[in-house]
Amino acid sequence: MYLKLVPSKTNIPFIKVRFIAMLFSAALIVGSFAALLTIGLNFGIDFRGGVTIEVTDSEPIELDAVRSTVGELGLGNVNVQAIRDFAGSEPAVVVYVEQQQVEAVEADEDEATANENAQQAAAVAVQNALRALLGDDMVVRKVDVVGPTVSGELIQKGATAVALAIAMMLIYIWLRFEWQFSLGAIVALVHDVIITLGMFAVTQLKFELAIIAAILTIVGYSMNDTVVVYDRVRENLRKYKSKPLAEVLDLSINDTLARTVMTSVTTLLALISLAIFGGEVLRGFTLAMIWGIVIGTYSSIFVASPFLLATGVKRDWSKQPAAATP
């Protein structure tokens, strides 16, 4: 027979363990908030402004030499990291320089312009210093310069996008189901987003614009997972009119468990391939997604569904027609 990670018929009492799950989730959320407040996110230049420069050289690069050379430029906080690439390419380093703040503005220049220009001047200075240190065979792979105007906007845009995505999901589920479902799904989504942010605070992985894209995808995926379970809950509520809600929920989660696991596995297969082979550029993004898939799957089973028990769901679905089939 074929591979089955989950047996065809399971009877796991998910609802029974909901308090344990609740404690677990609460602990993760509290931990995430604590990490966000104490350590904070390691914002990349998209959100913080500044300069990142990635260079490679034919010979191994001494990080300390790079650090002191760039540090001597007086550009404030400098961060130098080696890139560990699975592809085993040439030695590479990333230099991060914090956003420059202009102190004295020349008479004919306004402050905003001066601040934008200072970032680019820093980028040029760092490249020149690196070339002097590493020699002419140094190759500049990538230069990113983000000024204060754009970085400020991106923070706002990113936060708005995530909030908007969650709001849209709320409305969609409300339209397709009942408000109790919509509320449960949103609690699960917020849960996923907070814990993903917490993971970024704890690991100090760079939080960049691409991570917002990852979070939006996680929101979509987690919603997807939740909807599948809810769809079955709705169907089973119609089928078993007198069964207690807790049993209906358990039955629905068990019914869809094989699918939930199967889809998580295929998605994870694709993501793990990306994480291993997709290169440095995508790594943070992929790790966020992998984490999100795991959390999203967990939350659909242990957060979104038990939540229905708390809100109480309408039992009589007989008047509501089934979703149209094409």
Partner: protein
């Protein structure tokens, strides 16, 4: 549910074939593509800057300055209007105060004599209505009001918008002429928001050089020189009114000290219609040849005729690039700038003159550049991840669902082809996150099949016949598939709104992938599974 009419079958297969047709050009070389007959689709997916290397600049257009400049121009018109020339038939009006406040955007005029108030107000109304940048389309650019003995001029909101839009549009044109004079590069120069310009130049990973040419203001003016001011007075800043001191440009071999010029230009750069670089026939080095339009030609002829023996200066961006003595009247409407230009300096300066002046200052707000090496590495890494992820999912589906897994895999392959076809059709840009989007879509696209197959398993377990079970499976899975994909699609739409570049690339492939996967996973596999079940009518279904 499992039955398809001939037409439906043809339609489904036709759509996949269409996808293949649109995807094919990506795998052909440019020569082969050009050799194809006209009806064959030729558009391909463009590689993003992160994959082919290049520069991205986000420029802010200083539209406020444009509006300030216009208001200041109006203010000097107002001043002139209060002191008309003798013989104009109107009296002078003494001004108590005339100021422009750039924070409020208001010109405020007080007249010394209260009796002149109505007259002054009417004159201000007249000049703001006629001339001085009046807009077409019946928009009144300026509003004149009176307030407590003040006459207040402000710009209307429509006019502010219009002038800003014009400044952005004109800046885009100037930038385009500067970085792509021949119009043959694949550069993207597009407005973003109200006062931003995005510049993307594939293959050029030196944004500093790019900015150097973009950021030159390109303001060309011709001024009369004033040689009566002694150098020592000039150095001490003792200049007569209406005179300015301008340094020489630092071309090789110049090294001359600054000159005192008449501030008001005789001729401005907008009257120059063409400029080119050429060898200096009379000596060493290169020169810049330029041509005036008819207005400029007339002015230049008049000016040179009346000022033979005098010195004039050609000023580019507040630097003198040439200061010749007028030998004779120049009436043919063209001239040359000789200096000790190198070939490169001459052609760059000619390009700058030709492209015209930037209407507003541009500030670089964001700058990203990717070298060709990283681009190549990223393509390789992305392709590798794509192939391996794809293979892993395909194998996993077969070992999980056997024959039906193969159907799902066929659908998956069709899905990737359709994504490629759709992206080519839209001529969209593939970025590294875009590739990630495709890989992710592969993982998620099988979800619909997993939903269906698991459902069929359940129905089989409940004792249904294979055909019945498959029918019910497809039917019952639909609402979940629909909801699940709509939610992901919504997330992708929001992402698309979020940002330019890479994130947008991811959003596009995700959205396209979700849409095509519903078709391939729900319709195409049903055609395949239905074909098998109805033809063979198996008693047992291995699933």
């Amino acid at each position: 549910m499992l039955q398809f009419s001939k037409y439906q079958t043809a339609g489904i297969i036709g759509l996949v074939v269409l996808g293949i047709l649109f995807a094919i050009p990506n795998f052909l070389t440019e020569e082969t593509r050009d050799g194809l007959p006209g009806f064959v689709p030729k558009s391909t997916i463009n590689l993003g800057l992160d994959l082919q290397g290049g520069s991205y600049l986000l420029l802010g257009v200083d539209t406020e300055k444009v509006i300030d400049d216009r208001m200041r121009a109006i203010m000097s018109d107002v001043r002139r209007e209060m002191r008309p020339n003798r013989g104009a038939g109107r009296d002078r009006i003494s001004i108590d105060s005339l100021t422009y406040d750039d924070a409020s955007g208001e010109i405020s005029l007080r007249v010394a004599n209260a009796d002149d108030f109505d007259d002054a107000r009417d004159r201000v109304r007249d000049i703001t209505r006629s001339g001085a940048g009046a807009l077409g389309l019946g928009i009144r650019p300026y509003a004149v009001s009176t307030d407590n003995g003040r006459i207040v001029v402000s710009m209307t909101a429509e006019a502010e918008r219009q002038f800003s839009t014009e400044a952005v549009r004109d800046s885009i044109e100037v930038v385009r002429r500067r970085i792509d004079p021949a119009g043959n590069k694949e550069v993207v120069i597009a407005p973003q928001g109200a006062d931003r310009i995005v510049v993307q130049v594939p293959g050029d990973d030196d944004p500093e050089a790019l900015k150097a040419i973009i950021n030159r203001t390109g303001q060309l003016t011709f001024h009369a020189a004033d040689l009566t001011v002694s150098p020592s007075d000039a150095a001490a800043g003792l200049l007569p009114p209406g005179r300015i001191m301008v340094p020489f440009a630092e071309f090789e071999g110049t090294g001359r000290g600054p000159m005192v010029l008449v501030e008001a230009p005789e001729i401005t750069g907008d009257m120059v219609q063409n400029a080119s670089a050429g060898q200096n026939p009379d000596g060493a080095g290169f020169q810049i040849n330029f041509e005036f339009d008819s207005r400029g030609a007339r002015r230049f002829a008049d000016y040179t005729r009346n000022n033979i023996g005098q010195v004039f200066a050609i000023v580019l961006d507040d630097e003198i690039i040439s200061a010749p003595t007028i030998q004779s009247a120049i009436t043919q409407g063209s001239g040359r700038i000789t200096g000790d230009f190198s070939a490169l300096e001459a052609s760059e300066t000619a390009l700058l003159i030709r492209s015209g002046a930037l209407p507003a200052e541009l500030t670089t707000l964001e700058q990203r550049s990717v070298g060709p090496q990283l681009g190549q590495d990223s393509i390789e890494a992305g392709a590798k991840a794509l192939v391996i992820g794809f293979a892993a999912v395909i194998i996993y589906m077969v070992i999980s669902y056997g024959r039906f897994g193969i159907y799902a895999d066929i659908a998956l392959i069709a899905n990737v082809i359709l994504i490629a076809g759709a992206l080519s059709l839209m001529g969209s840009t593939l970025t590294l996150p875009g590739i990630a989007g495709i890989v992710l879509t592969i993982g998620m696209a099988v979800d619909a099949n997993v939903l269906i197959f698991e459902r069929i398993r359940e129905e089989l377990a409940a004792g249904k016949t294979p055909i019945n079970a498959a029918e019910t499976g497809y039917q019952k899975a639909w609402s979940a598939i629909l909801d699940a994909n709509v939610t992901t699609f919504l997330a992708a739409l929001i992402m698309f709104q979020l940002g330019a570049g890479p994130v947008r690339g991811f959003a596009i492939t995700l959205a396209v992938g979700v849409a095509t996967s519903v078709f391939t996973a729900y319709v195409l596999t049903r055609l395949l599974a239905g074909g098998y079940l109805l033809a063979k009518r198996p008693q047992q279904l291995a699933l």
